[in-house]
């Protein structure tokens, strides 16, 4: 057992201090986590509303909700870039990573608390630049493909500059977490006892550190080309449009794992607790995060199979893409096997974790269609891609995120939400998500291209169904959000500091934890997953 026996003397919860200054100048990792949580949730809401608008437009083939196709195009650009760069990439890593890493390894804070605050401030500067761009947003899609992004009359520079600035925040956070995990583990917290969320955060941090500079440079070149007419990417000026795609995906493929690996970590924490079982295949899960992180640097060309790359390059990258699918599959088997002979409690966070397994499986399997060269030729840039990425990003990352919110809610905020309402919201989200995105696989097979403001009649029934689904999904998220917000304004405290019987260190401190986390740094004597009868 993790030795969590701590003397609970008088302590002041980290939330006790009030006032603006106590927030904007805080170096407490738990508070910084909240700052991120609030900001990313804000962008999740804005981008989600944009998506509802797009789905509403797509109910019928002709334009009716937006006035022009450009307005629709701006909408999907905003939706994609906000969701990717402002919500899901910082996402779990910045919010839960900040809150959980020091608590889980038995530390008082991250290694560089001030740099941590600086990361957040850089992130805010990035968002401020972005918000200033909202008056005249770009219409390039979140991928900013050249030469369209160079030639379009809409404003591209501000939005890319915002993303560029965000990159620094990501890099600093990654660096901070790596040092924290190396240097601040409590006595006895060996590598083989580490919670899997820590392993996942470590793998993510490596990706952030190594991949983010590439997107930064790429966007800088794009800005330079637009502002000063230097020909990097536009063939009209002697540039190469494919070069941009290479750069972009060299970052953005690893980035999809920056998005999802933290969620792998979350799921690996939730399932053992509610199944009261040791995680099955600890080593396989821990190492496969690293395997995925490393291989994911070498698969970017699978986004460009029909871009005009060589046949040999296509073959090599198809092969490597298949390799990524192996550790992914192994993880899914491990989580499922953890349930075997367990004692399963269907807490709302467990429901999200279980839906993660099912939906992420769909996402991973459809990735295999796209990794197979000849099949990808047909499916590339259709709604099949849209469905695939939403199954991995909502079905995967967002389910993990929601699961984490419900699981650590008491610990983080020291409040209790209504469990029945949470379950109802989960049900709506699960159903709504599938109704929205499952038809898109079929639409894609039929040939419906993505990023179409209007579309041929024959796709109308799929589109209509998808739009109805988005309403159910939206309602679910609304109910969930309200349910999680209400308790924050109410009195009341959790009855127990460890209601689910977790062995992990963060559950051995009060809810909410004191400012210093631990009265005394604990000594760990067993791994985090020692559930069940030996």
């Amino acid at each position: 057992m993790a030795n969590g026996v701590m003397t609970q003397t008088q302590h002041i919860p980290y939330l006790a201090q009030k006032g603006l200054k106590s927030w904007i100048l805080t170096t407490d990792h738990k508070r910084i986590g909240i700052l991120y949580l609030v900001t990313i949730s804000f962008f999740f809401m804005i981008a989600g509303l944009t998506a509802l608008g797009m789905r509403y437009e797509l109910m019928t083939p002709e334009l009716d909700f937006f006035r022009t196709a450009t307005e629709y195009n701006v909408a999907f650009t905003l939706h994609g870039s906000l969701m990717v760069f402002f919500f899901i990439v910082p996402g779990i890593a910045a919010s839960f990573g900040n809150f959980l890493i020091p608590l889980m390894i038995g530390a008082r804070d991250v290694a560089f608390p001030r740099i941590n605050l600086l990361s957040f401030w850089i992130y805010l500067v990035g968002t401020a630049i972005l918000l200033s761009a909202l008056a005249q947003p770009a219409d390039t899609g979140w991928t900013f493909y050249t030469p369209y992004s160079i030639q379009t009359g809409t404003k591209v520079i501000m939005i890319t500059l915002g993303v560029f600035v965000l990159g620094f925040s990501s890099i600093l956070t990654g660096m901070n977490f790596i040092v924290t995990i190396h240097k601040l583990r409590a006595p006895g917290m060996t590598w083989s006892r580490l919670p899997l969320f820590i392993w996942a955060s470590y793998a993510t941090a490596i990706l952030q550190l190594l991949a983010t500079p590439v997107v930064g440079i790429t966007l800088l070149l794009l800005i330079a080309e637009r502002a000063f007419d230097i020909g990097f990417f536009d063939p009209a000026k002697g540039g190469d449009p494919i070069l941009f795609q290479n750069f972009f995906w060299f970052y953005s493929h690893p980035a999809v794992y920056i998005m999802v690996i933290p969620a792998f970590g979350i799921i690996s924490e939730i399932i053992p607790v509610f199944a009261r079982k040791p995680i099955f295949g600890y080593k396989a899960i821990a190492y496969s995060s690293f395997a995925i992180a490393i291989i994911s640097f070498f698969v970017w060309l699978h986004h460009m199979f029909v871009s005009g790359i060589s046949e040999t390059a296509a073959a090599i990258f198809s092969f490597l893409t298949m390799l990524v699918a192996i550790p992914t599959a192994v993880k899914v088997f491990n989580w499922t096997a953890t349930l075997y002979k367990g004692s399963i409690d269907f807490h709302s966070s467990m429901l999200y974790a279980l839906s993660f397994i099912v939906l992420f499986t769909v996402g991973g399997l459809t990735g295999v269609y796209l990794g197979a060269l000849a099949v990808d030729v047909h499916l590339h840039d259709t709604y099949f891609i849209v469905a695939h990425m939403h199954y991995v990003m909502i079905g995967g990352t967002v389910m993990g995120f929601f699961g984490a919110l419900h699981f650590w809610y008491q610990k983080w905020f020291g409040k209790v939400f209504d469990e029945l309402t949470a379950k109802i919201a989960w049900f709506l989200i699960f159903v709504g998500f599938n109704v929205t995105f499952f038809p898109q696989f079929f639409m894609g097979f039929q040939g419906m291209p993505r990023r179409y403001a209007t579309y041929p009649e024959e796709y109308i029934s799929y589109h209509a169904l998808s739009t109805y689904g988005s309403w159910i999904l939206g309602l679910g998220v609304l109910i969930m959000t309200v349910n999680l917000l209400i308790p924050l304004w109410k009195e009341g405290r959790p009855e127990s500091s460890n209601p689910y019987g977790s062995l992990s260190l963060e559950w051995q401190v009060p809810s909410p934890p004191p400012h210093e986390n631990f009265d005394e740094i604990p000594t760990v004597t067993d791994w985090t997953y020692a559930y069940g009868k030996k």
């Binding site: 192994v330 349930l339 291209p449 030996k534």
Partner: protein, 315 residues
């Protein structure tokens, strides 16, 4: 058309569909397996009492090896098969007939080796391989015909090729699959697959018996103009309901006085309309970019007349 996959109308479709089928079988198998196990465990091992005992099972090398190796083998099969079919997609036979394709915002131009040209309509012969040599005039576009299972991005500044042998007579949608701006979703065209006889007639320049051109003649000029408006891609930039798209709307256009970029103004009459179609940059309406291509050699005088008749009706 089935709900699963569009009709297959090229020589390449079958092998793509076979792989798709194989991947689908594998996927459904694993999806059902995972879901069934998950549901079964959820029911069997649900918490019945607080002190329910659970087992201490941490790993099992045998089962872990098995479930690593089986997916690996399947994935390698899928990779190899996908690659083999991809080679076929990428390598046109030597006897393929060449057609030059120019994609631009937001239309398709086709030029055949006989010197014939067509706009937003590609004519090909059944069972004869075609090789398209494609370039873009502006940004990246992508040639996509779902029924043929082919797709290729078209770049500015270089040629990209794509080939297929159409196997079924009929008309198929050609869609631009790479986002290219405000007219992207209207950058649609048709691929007309003709029987050898019909194709020979079309090459000689005769009107097609049952082809679109002849069918159009038997209708009034207004209706013909309306068809041309969508077939020839005017709709990508000009609305008919007053909405501002890329170019001026056609609604209430006829009879109106337009302000030109050079400060003068002009009455919109038949001659102005004809000139604007054949030489779009001759008189630029203030506030619009000079993006419209010339339709000289693409639209006949007859067709322009029909279009003008149509525009006149838009009040």
């Amino acid at each position: 058309m089935s709900t699963w996959i569009p009709e297959s109308a090229s020589n390449l479709a079958a092998s793509v569909d076979n792989i798709t089928l194989f991947v689908t079988i594998v996927s459904v198998f694993f999806f059902v397996l995972i879901s069934a196990v998950l549901v079964a465990f959820s029911i069997k091992y649900r918490r019945k009492s607080e002190d329910q005992e659970t087992a201490y099972i941490t790993h099992n090398p045998v089962i872990e090896t098995i479930w690593t190796i089986i997916p690996t083998i399947l994935l390698m099969v899928i990779f190899a098969w996908g690659w083999i079919a991809f080679k076929e997609l990428r390598n046109p036979p030597a006897e393929a007939i060449e057609v030059n394709v120019v994609a631009k915002q937001w239309l398709w131009e086709f030029e055949y080796f006989t010197g014939k040209k067509s706009l937003n309509e590609l004519f090909v012969q059944q069972n004869k391989p075609v090789r398209l040599i494609m370039r873009s005039d502006d940004v990246i576009h992508s040639f996509f015909v779902p029924q043929f299972r082919v797709k290729q991005d078209i770049l500015p500044g270089s040629y990209q090729q794509l080939w297929f042998t159409p196997t079924k007579v009929g008309t198929f949608d050609l869609l631009c699959a790479e986002y290219c701006g405000s007219g992207h979703s209207k950058m649609l065209a048709k691929v007309n697959v003709l029987s050898p006889e019909a194709f020979a007639r079309w090459e000689k320049g005769d009107e097609l018996e049952d082809g679109p051109a002849l069918a159009a003649i038997s209708v009034s000029p207004v209706e013909r103009g309306k068809d041309l408006y969508s077939q020839r891609g005017c709709l990508a930039c000009h609305s008919v309901d007053g909405k501002e798209v890329i170019g001026p709307t056609f609604k209430n256009l006829y009879g109106k006085t337009e302000k030109l970029a050079d400060g003068s103004s002009v009455l919109v009459d038949e001659n102005y309309l004809r000139e604007s179609i054949y030489e779009p940059q001759a008189k630029m309406v203030a506030g619009y970019a000079p993006t419209m291509p010339s339709f000289k050699g693409i639209l006949s005088e007859d067709e322009v007349t029909a279009l003008i008749e149509y525009i006149k009706t838009l009040k």
